[in-house]
């Protein structure tokens, strides 16, 4: 045995218990006689135990990349390399998975082979932004690992002030709630900005996330600078026979207390004959009743998307949710997709020119005001963008008449277009 294992009394305590243990996995690699990664994983365990003992981290950043790209690799150099020399470099490659994270076993085995050869043998499925994280390799091996993955059809994801790896839910592939072609939306958007992804030159990161319906399984409103969420415009579908079955199975009281009275806009009423009255005009497509009564209720046919912008986490003004920017748009024809791409382009262009360094889209909107942002990207104000109009009289309304005129003109145009 080339190198003795470090004592890891604390880590060992993470091998018990019913949940799969990453320590057991890393130990397997550290005891993998003859494998190139074995020494690295032995020292990785040593450093990690040291962190557990001292309650501190010991990695620092640096600059490592692949030829042609400015980002996508997270470089890690050890601060305790004198004690744990074999893991002194432990860089991670962020690789974008197929949209929706679909794999067949052949593909996965191939990915394993690459990382067994060029890396640590440790892979995370997936990072919180959706990358496959090939965790831990040396500076020397970064390029060769990437080349092999790239040849397989895989590309680095984002890091630094760049367009980031995006995520889309399983959606249309296996979900009846899906109102969009999530993978297509994701690929249309992200693949349009590969230059901004691979050569980080934006003020800060920019993330796309795509959910097929308002359940928002991709957490897009809060975790994406641009969130695309499927929705529908016509009436939801009601199978009254299934409604009655559900009511008789669960009881009227159950349905009233758990479905009817939970509708956020009082759009549901249970009729005396146990059929359901839906006030579709006031339904906000929250999904609740549809989630509960999966067989009886389903989304409508006139599908499209809502776009929100500005979600992010804490830095520097506190967490932000995205704001509705496009209340509804159809996404069927190529022209529709082009329009969506155009909106993303205008947004990223405006962001690039107007955001301060290390300022996210949401923070920029907060600083300059939603109205200025909308003007910047060429989108008209719409009451669906707000939960409520202003509450404070501190506003200067000199140009009220002009602004009102814009609205009336727009409405007239819409009416003309509709007829």
């Amino acid at each position: 045995m080339s190198k003795p294992l470090h004592n890891t009394p604390m880590l060992d305590q993470l091998e018990g218990g019913p949940w799969p243990s990453f320590i057991t996995g890393i130990k397997r690699l550290a005891t993998d006689e003859g494998k190139s990664y074995q020494p690295m994983m032995i020292d990785l365990l040593g450093q990690l135990e040291h962190s557990y003992q001292t309650r501190k981290g010991y990695w620092k950043g640096g600059t490592i990349g692949v030829i042609g790209y400015g980002g996508g690799v997270i470089p890690r150099f050890s601060e305790v390399a004198s004690q744990f020399p074999a893991s002194k470099e432990f860089h991670t490659l962020r690789i974008q998975p197929p949209a929706g994270m679909h794999y067949n076993t052949a593909l996965i085995r191939q990915l394993c082979d690459v990382w067994e050869k060029h890396g640590s043998g440790l892979i995370a499925f997936h990072g919180q932004s959706g990358d496959i994280m090939f965790q831990g390799t040396t500076s020397d091996n970064v390029q060769s690992a990437f080349d092999e993955l790239n040849e397989m059809g895989f590309d680095l994801g984002g890091a630094g002030p760049a367009v980031r790896t995006g995520m889309s839910c399983v959606g249309a592939a296996r979900c009846e709630q899906s109102c969009a072609n999530e993978q297509k939306v994701l690929r249309t958007l992200v693949n349009n900005f590969l230059d901004d992804m691979h050569r980080p030159a934006l003020p800060y990161k920019f993330k796309f996330k795509v959910s097929g319906c308002p359940n928002d399984c991709m957490n897009s409103i809060e975790r994406a600078d641009m969130a695309i969420i499927g929705t529908w415009r016509d009436d939801m579908k009601v199978d009254q026979a299934e409604v009655k079955t559900f009511v008789s199975k669960k009881s009227r009281k159950y349905v009233i207390d758990n479905v009817i009275s939970r509708c956020p806009t009082h759009a549901l009423s249970l009729n005396d004959d146990d059929s359901l009255a839906v006030d579709n005009r006031n339904c906000v497509r929250c999904m609740h009743c549809i989630n509960v009564m999966t067989k009886a209720l389903s989304v409508g046919d006139d599908k499209g998307i809502t776009v929100l912008m500005g979600g992010k986490r804490t830095l520097k003004i506190g967490d932000l949710m995205g704001t509705v920017i496009i209340p509804f748009m159809k996404l069927e024809t190529q022209a529709d997709y082009d329009r969506l791409r155009g909106i993303a382009e205008a947004t990223i262009e405006f962001f690039a020119e107007n955001a301060l360094e290390h300022e996210r889209t949401g923070e920029m909107i907060e600083r300059i005001g939603l109205v200025n942002f909308l003007e910047g990207i060429g989108v008209d104000v719409d009451p669906n963008m707000i939960s409520e109009p202003r509450q404070c009289s501190y506003v200067r309304t000199d140009t009220w008449d002009e602004e009102a005129e814009k609205w009336f003109t727009r409405k007239a145009e819409q009416q003309a277009a509709a007829t």
């Binding site: 308002p214 928002d216 409103i221 969420i229 929705t231 529908w232 415009r233 016509d234 956020p264 806009t265 009082h266 005009r281 006031n282 339904c283 906000v284 497509r285 929250c286 809502t306 929100l308 932000l320 949710m321 995205g322 704001t323 509705v324 209340p327 509804f328 907060e366 005001g369 939603l370 109205v371 909308l374 104000v381 719409d382 009451p383 669906n384 963008m385 707000i386 939960s387 409520e388 109009p389 202003r390 509450q391 404070c392 009289s393 501190y394 506003v395 200067r396 309304t397 000199d398 009220w400 008449d401 602004e403 009102a404 005129e405 814009k406 609205w407 009336f408």
Partner: protein, 355 residues
Amino acid sequence: MPPRMPIESGVPDPFQYMHPIMVRNYGAWKHHERPRPGVLCHTSKNGEQIWTIRAGTQRQMDVYTIRKLCDIADQYAEGYVRFTIRSNIEFMVSQESKVAPLIDKLTQEGFPVGGTGPSVSMIAHTQGWLHCDIPGTDASGVVKALMDELYEEFIREDMPNRVHITTSCCQINCGGQGDIAINIQHTKPPKINHDLVANVCERPSVVARCPVAAIRPALVNGKPSLEVDEKKCICCGACYPPCPPMQINDPEHSKLAIWVGGNHSNARSKPSFQKLVAAGIPNNPPRWPEAAAIVKKILRVYKEDARDWERLSDWVARIGWPRFFELTELPFTKFHIDNWRGARRSLNASTHIRF
């Protein structure tokens, strides 16, 4: 003779002026009914009943009108009245039989009976040109003109829930929040009479009053005065009361704005502030027809579309603001998007959208 010093008696004890049934059953009421608009009948745990007949007044009353009300109270009621927070007068009687004759008499004398239950009650009233030193419009006139238009809504109870309207004659807003509020909204920065500032205004306090720090001390024509950064100024008029030479009122550019959804009650949802729905409305005495038309339009769609017990704010919460603008045919503009403190909270951070 030494000057008479005041007796600092404060708030008078009300029991000396209260209807005896109310005194006897103080704190012991059981339930109430509204036998007809303008009439309440309260039943006490002791089995006693009292009928209240509510009538509208003009608030600013001459002694003749007041005495006429007293005469009616003495002849048709039992000599006891109270006023509501909305300047309605209430007559209390011990017998149902007195209700109808009292109503007839009041109606005949020009006092509308109503304002109870789901009606449009009297508008909360401020001072305006009649008395205040800073008004952009009148108050009594606005109220009179509007109540003339809302007369039927006052004497009937056919709104979804009670409607409380307020007016304010400057942006200080003594009128408070309302289901509907008609308030002054200035649109031009103050015009400064620099000759007067030094004598009349304490400059540091004026500077401190500005909510957007648009005022700075300046020397104008060699005299200490104030300067306004007109790009920053939001034309709120807060500088005008402490510094009358900063004239904010303007016959043309002091406009009216209409706000809806203010709700003080804790019923159902928590109390809520009113929201801007229309501005740029001409301040058009003596009858303010443009403002009246918008108020009536809002009330009409509310009445048609809201459900029982929905206050205006509850109704809009259910149908959403986009539909509110659609139904009222009011324009939605960039001014509706809040940009004051905490404005982010007012943005739609969800896919909750009605189509």
